[in-house]
C-alpha cells in the first residue's frame, strides 16, 4: 500500500465517521432508554474503546486513540481528542488496543481440553486420505479452550483437522464467541489439511503410506482421480456424469483453488515435495509448519506460496528438530507472506496461545509491528478474510483485543476481548 493512498483512505474514513457520529448523536437520546436495560456485553450496545496506543494495522499507530463500535461493526477509528460520542456507549479503556488476534492454524474445539477419546475429533485414522471430513461437523464451540484462547485476545481461528494423516480433513474459520458452529463460522470450508513427512506417514506394519515417496505417490494419484472426476462432470450427457463423491468433490475444490490445500511439511525435502506437487497440479497451496524453512528460503519465496509457520515454542524433535525461534524474522526479511499458529499438540499444552508464539518471534528479530501484523492483518489476508477482520478499519467486524501493556510481554494481561462488538472478559486468575 502506498503512503498517499493510505493517508487519503484514512482521512476519508475519518471524515465519514464524523458525519456518522453527528447522525448517531441525534438518535442517541431516543435509544438510550432501552440500551440501559441491555446486558453489559450485549452486541447491540455501542462501545467506545480508548487506547493509549491503538494499533490499527491499517496505517500508523494512534496515540490516545478511539475506536467506536455499533451493531458489531467498527464505526470510527481515530484520535480521541476532540472526538465526541453519545452517552449510551459502554466505555472501555486500555493501554494498548489491537485488532482481534487471528490464529491461522489451530485444532481448538476439535482437540478438547480433557484429551480423552470422547473429546478428540481432530484425527480420524481409518484411512490415509479423508478430505471429505468437515471441521464444522466436529467443532465444539463450548470447549473451555475456545473461551480460554479468547481471553488472550484471539477472536478468529482457522481450526480443524490436525496434521497426522496424509489428508486428515478440512479446516474452518470461526469467530471465538463459543455459541454454535453455525452462528460463529465465517468460512466453513477454509482449507484441506494434508501432511507430508512423518506426520503424513505411518510406521504401523502393513499400513500405507509408510514412506515419504509412497505418501507423495498416493497424494498425486488422488489428485489425478479428482481431475478425472471434474472432467467427467463436464459430460454433456447427464447419464454419463459420475455419481457424487464427497472425497473427490472436496479435492476438486483444491484443484480450482476455492479450498486450497494446507500442506504440513517440516523437513526441507517435504517442503520441496509440497511445492513440486503444487506445480504439477497448478495448485495454490499454503505451506504449514516449515521447520526447515531457513534451508530452503529461496525456494519458498520463488513458489509464491504463503506460510503458516510452526509455533515458535514448538518442541524441537523429530521432523521439527531444526526449528528456530528466528525463522519468523527470516521469512519477513525474505518477503515471504506468513502467519503464526497455535498448531496441534497431542499432549500439553492442549492449545498454545498464538499471542505467546508471536511474542517469542518478536524477541528474536521480528519487529514489534511485524509480529502484530502476522497475528492480524497478514493472517486475515492469508485466510481470505481481510475484508471482514484483521485491522481496525471502519466497516469491518468489531474484533479487538485490549491489553494493559505491551501485548508480547510475559506479565501483560489481556483485559477484554471484543468479538463482533460483543465484549468478553480477558484473562482471569481469580
Amino acid at each position: 500500500m502506498t503512503l498517499p493512498h493510505s493517508l487519503y483512505r484514512n482521512l476519508s474514513l475519518y471524515l465519514f465517521s464524523l458525519l456518522a457520529l453527528a447522525f448517531l448523536a441525534a438518535i442517541a437520546t431516543a435509544r438510550s432508554q432501552e440500551q440501559t436495560d441491555s446486558a453489559p456485553d450485549h452486541p447491540a450496545m455501542p462501545v467506545a474503546i480508548h487506547g493509549d496506543t491503538v494499533y490499527t494495522m491499517d496505517g500508523a499507530p494512534i496515540a490516545d486513540g478511539l475506536v467506536l463500535i455499533r451493531d458489531g461493526k467498527i464505526t470510527f477509528v481515530g484520535s480521541a481528542q476532540d472526538t465526541v460520542y453519545t452517552a449510551d456507549h459502554r466505555v472501555l479503556r486500555a493501554k494498548v488496543v489491537t485488532p482481534g488476534l487471528i490464529d491461522a492454524r489451530a485444532t481448538v474445539g476439535l482437540s478438547g481440553i480433557l484429551n480423552q477419546d470422547q473429546d478428540q475429533d481432530m484425527l480420524e485414522k481409518s484411512a490415509a486420505m479423508q478430505p471429505e471430513l468437515r471441521a464444522i461437523d466436529a467443532y465444539n464451540p463450548r470447549d473451555p479452550l475456545v473461551a480460554y484462547v479468547r481471553s488472550f485476545g484471539i477472536t478468529t481461528v482457522n481450526t480443524g483437522h490436525a496434521p497426522g494423516m496424509l489428508i486428515s480433513g478440512q479446516t474452518m474459520v470461526v469467530k471465538t464467541h463459543g455459541r454454535t458452529s453455525d452462528e460463529d463460522v465465517i468460512q466453513p470450508a477454509a482449507m484441506i489439511a494434508a501432511s507430508l513427512g512423518s506426520n503424513g506417514t505411518t510406521s504401523e506394519a502393513g499400513k500405507t503410506p509408510g514412506t515419504r515417496s509412497k505418501a507423495v505417490a498416493l497424494l498425486r494419484a488422488e489428485l489425478i482421480k479428482a481431475q478425472a472426476y471434474v472432467e467427467k462432470l463436464q459430460a454433456e450427457d447427464e447419464s454419463k456424469r459420475p455419481a457424487r463423491d464427497l472425497r473427490l468433490e472436496t479435492l476438486a475444490r483444491a484443484l480450482d483453488g476455492t479450498q486450497p490445500l494446507l500442506i504440513t511439511a517440516h523437513r526441507q525435502q517435504d517442503i520441496l515435495s509440497a511445492i513440486r506437487i503444487a506445480r504439477e497440479f497448478n495448485l495454490a497451496i499454503i505451506l504449514d509448519g516449515v521447520s526447515d524453512a531457513p534451508l530452503v528460503l529461496a525456494e519458498i519465496k520463488a513458489s509464491g506460496f504463503p506460510v503458516i509457520l510452526h509455533p515458535t515454542m514448538a518442541r524441537s524433535f523429530g521432523d521439527q528438530e531444526n526449528l528456530s525461534m528466528e525463522t519468523a524474522a527470516k521469512l519477513k526479511a525474505a518477503g515471504i507472506p506468513f502467519a503464526l499458529q497455535s498448531g496441534y499438540e497431542n499432549y500439553v499444552p492442549k492449545t498454545r496461545i498464538v499471542l505467546f508464539e508471536a511474542a517469542i518471534a518478536a524477541a528474536h528479530g521480528l519487529a514489534f509491528e511485524d509480529a502484530l501484523a502476522c497475528l492480524t492483518r497478514d493472517a486475515a489476508k492469508l485466510l481470505g478474510i481481510a475484508d471482514r477482520t484483521g485491522s481496525l478499519t471502519v466497516g469491518k467486524d468489531a474484533d479487538l483485543a485490549l491489553y494493559d501493556g505491551d501485548p508480547f510481554e510475559y506479565t501483560t494481561h489481556c483485559t477484554a476481548t471484543v468479538v463482533d462488538g460483543t465484549v468478553y472478559p480477558g484473562e482471569n486468575y481469580d
Binding site: 484429551n115 480423552q116 499444552p349 524477541a363 501483560t412 494481561h413 484473562e427
Partner: protein, 438 residues
C-alpha cells in the same frame, strides 16, 4: 577414572586468580538487588557479593565489566527429563532400585539448550508412570563428557538425588501388578514403606552381627534412605485429593517430600502450607491435556505463595523447554505471584526442594559460583541469557555462534554434542538423537 582426570583438569582451569564481575545489577535472591554490583569468584566459589563502590579489589583480580547487565544465580530446575534417562520398566509399579544415573545420555543436545536457558543445576527424574519409578539425580551442568562429570557429591560421599514417586492416573493401568484404583495405589505404597521399616529395624537390631543382617535388598535400601530423611521424595501429583493422599502418606511414614506439578494445589493451599511441604509447580500455556490437569492455572504460584508454601518451579523438559524457564516464572507473575517469589521459585526455593540450599540457589559468599548474566529484566520476553557460569566456568555464551544455535534453534541444534566423537564427523549424529516427551 576418565571422569576423575577431567575434574582435575577442570579444577585447574577454574579461577586460580579471583575474577570480579562489576557494574551489573545483582539479584542475589537471598537479599535485595544491588545496583552497580560486584560478584567476586575464585576456585569455583563466590568469595564476595556487594556494591562495587565499597569493595576494594587487589591488583591480581581480573575484572570483567558487565555494566548494564543483570546477574542472578544460575537457575535450579527441580524436575527435568533432559538426557532421556529412564527409571523402572513396565514389570511392576514400585522400582526404587532403578537409577536414572544408569541411563542418561550426556550428549543429548538438550543439555546445552538447558545451559542456554540459564539452568545450572537440574534434577533429572525418571517418568511418572509408576508409584515409585526410581532414583533421581541432581546434576551440575558443568561441561561434560560422561555422566560422572555432572554429579554432585554430598559431604558423606554419596551422589545427590531424590526418589521419584507418583500418584493419580498415570500408573492406573491395572496390568502387571500396577494398581487399578487410587486406594490400591496408596495401599501398595504403604505396604512397601512398612516393609522398608521392618528392613531398617532388622538392620538396626543386627548391629555389627553380620549373621543376623537381612539379605541386601536394593529396593528397600533406597526406601530406608528415604525413611532416614537422606533422600527426598520428589512426588508427582495433580488432583487435590491425590495431593492430600501424598501428605497423609508422608505423615504416616515421616518422609521428606516435595510435591511436583500440583495442578490443583490452589484448591488445597492451606493444607499444603500446614504440612510444611514445598511445591514445584509448572507453567503450561493452557489447562487440560489430561483429566487431572483440567484446572491447571497460572494462579497456582500466587495462591501457594500467599498461603506461605515454599514454591519452586520446574520445566519437566520436554514438557516445557528448558530455554523458557524464566518465562515460566514470569507467567506466574502475570497471575499475581510476587516478582521476588517468582525469581526465588527458579533458584533458592528449588535448591531447598533438592536439599542443596547450602550450595546453590543464591549469590552468597561461600556458595558455588553458579550464575547467569542477562541482557535485562529476568521476567521480560525481550531478555536473553547472555552467559551461564557453573562453578566459576563459563558453559554458555550467546555471542558464540554454536551456543547461539542451541539457544534459538536451527539446523544442527538437534544434533547431539559430539565432544569426543569428533573424529567420526556427524556419522552418529542422527542415530543418537533423543527426542520425545518423557
Amino acid at each position: 577414572m576418565c571422569g576423575l582426570t577431567l575434574l582435575t583438569a577442570a579444577a585447574l582451569h577454574a579461577q586460580e586468580n579471583p575474577v570480579a564481575f562489576t557494574g551489573a545489577t545483582i539479584i542475589p535472591i537471598s537479599g535485595a538487588p544491588v545496583e552497580n554490583g560486584l560478584l567476586l569468584v575464585q576456585h569455583g566459589k563466590i568469595t564476595a557479593v556487594g556494591d562495587a563502590a565499597t569493595v576494594r579489589l587487589s591488583s591480581e583480580v581480573q575484572i570483567i565489566d558487565v555494566t548494564g547487565k543483570i546477574i542472578m544465580p544460575g537457575l535450579v530446575d527441580s524436575h527435568s527429563h533432559i538426557g532421556g534417562g529412564s527409571g523402572g520398566d513396565s514389570s511392576s509399579p514400585i522400582q526404587p532400585e532403578t537409577r536414572v544415573l544408569d541411563s542418561i545420555n550426556v550428549r543429548d543436545p538438550r543439555f546445552q539448550k538447558t545451559r542456554s536457558g540459564g539452568i545450572t543445576t537440574v534434577n533429572v527424574m525418571p517418568g511418572s508412570g509408576h508409584l515409585i519409578s526410581g532414583q533421581t539425580l541432581y546434576l551440575k551442568l558443568r561441561e561434560a563428557r560422561v555422566i560422572d562429570d555432572l554429579l554432585i557429591t554430598l559431604p558423606d560421599g554419596t551422589i545427590a538425588g531424590g526418589l521419584k514417586m507418583a500418584n493419580g492416573t498415570n500408573s492406573l493401568t491395572g496390568k502387571n501388578g500396577f494398581p487399578g484404583t487410587r486406594a490400591k495405589s496408596a495401599a501398595l505404597v504403604r505396604e512397601q514403606f512398612i516393609k522398608a521399616r521392618e528392613y531398617r529395624d532388622k538392620l538396626a537390631r543386627a548391629g555389627d552381627d553380620e549373621s543376623k543382617r537381612p539379605d541386601r535388598n536394593l529396593a528397600l535400601e533406597e526406601l530406608v534412605e528415604v525413611l532416614a530423611g537422606k533422600r527426598i521424595v520428589q512426588h508427582h501429583t495433580h488432583r487435590h485429593d491425590d495431593i492430600i493422599t501424598v501428605l497423609r502418606l508422608a505423615r504416616e511414614f515421616d518422609f521428606k517430600v516435595a510435591l511436583h506439578h500440583v495442578s490443583d494445589g490452589w484448591k488445597v493451599a492451606p493444607e499444603i502450607a500446614a504440612a510444611g511441604v514445598p511445591c514445584s509447580i509448572i507453567a503450561i500455556d493452557s489447562p487440560g491435556g489430561k483429566l487431572e490437569a483440567r484446572d491447571l492455572s497460572f494462579k497456582t504460584g500466587r495462591v501457594l505463595e500467599e498461603a506461605g508454601v515454599v514454591v519452586g518451579m520446574h520445566t519437566d523438559d520436554g514438557v516445557t523447554d528448558s530455554r523458557f524457564f524464566l518465562r515460566s516464572a514470569a507467567l506466574m507473575v502475570r497471575a499475581g505471584m510476587s516478582r521476588d517469589g517468582a525469581l526465588r521459585s527458579l533458584t533458592l526455593a528449588n535448591a531447598q526442594i533438592l536439599g542443596l540450599e547450602d550450595r546453590v540457589g543464591s549469590l552468597e559468599t561461600g556458595k558455588d559460583a553458579d550464575f547467569i548474566i542477562l541482557s535485562g529484566d529476568p521476567l521480560s520476553v525481550y531478555t536473553h541469557v547472555e552467559q551461564t557460569w557453573v562453578e566459576g566456568r563459563k558453559v554458555f555464551d550467546r555471542s558464540n555462534e554454536k551456543d547461539h544455535l542451541y539457544a534459538v534453534g536451527g539446523p544442527g541444534a538437534g544434533d547431539p554434542q559430539n565432544t569426543y566423537l569428533c573424529c567420526f564427523g556427524d556419522a552418529f549424529a542422527h542415530h543418537e538423537n533423543q527426542g520425545g516427551i518423557q
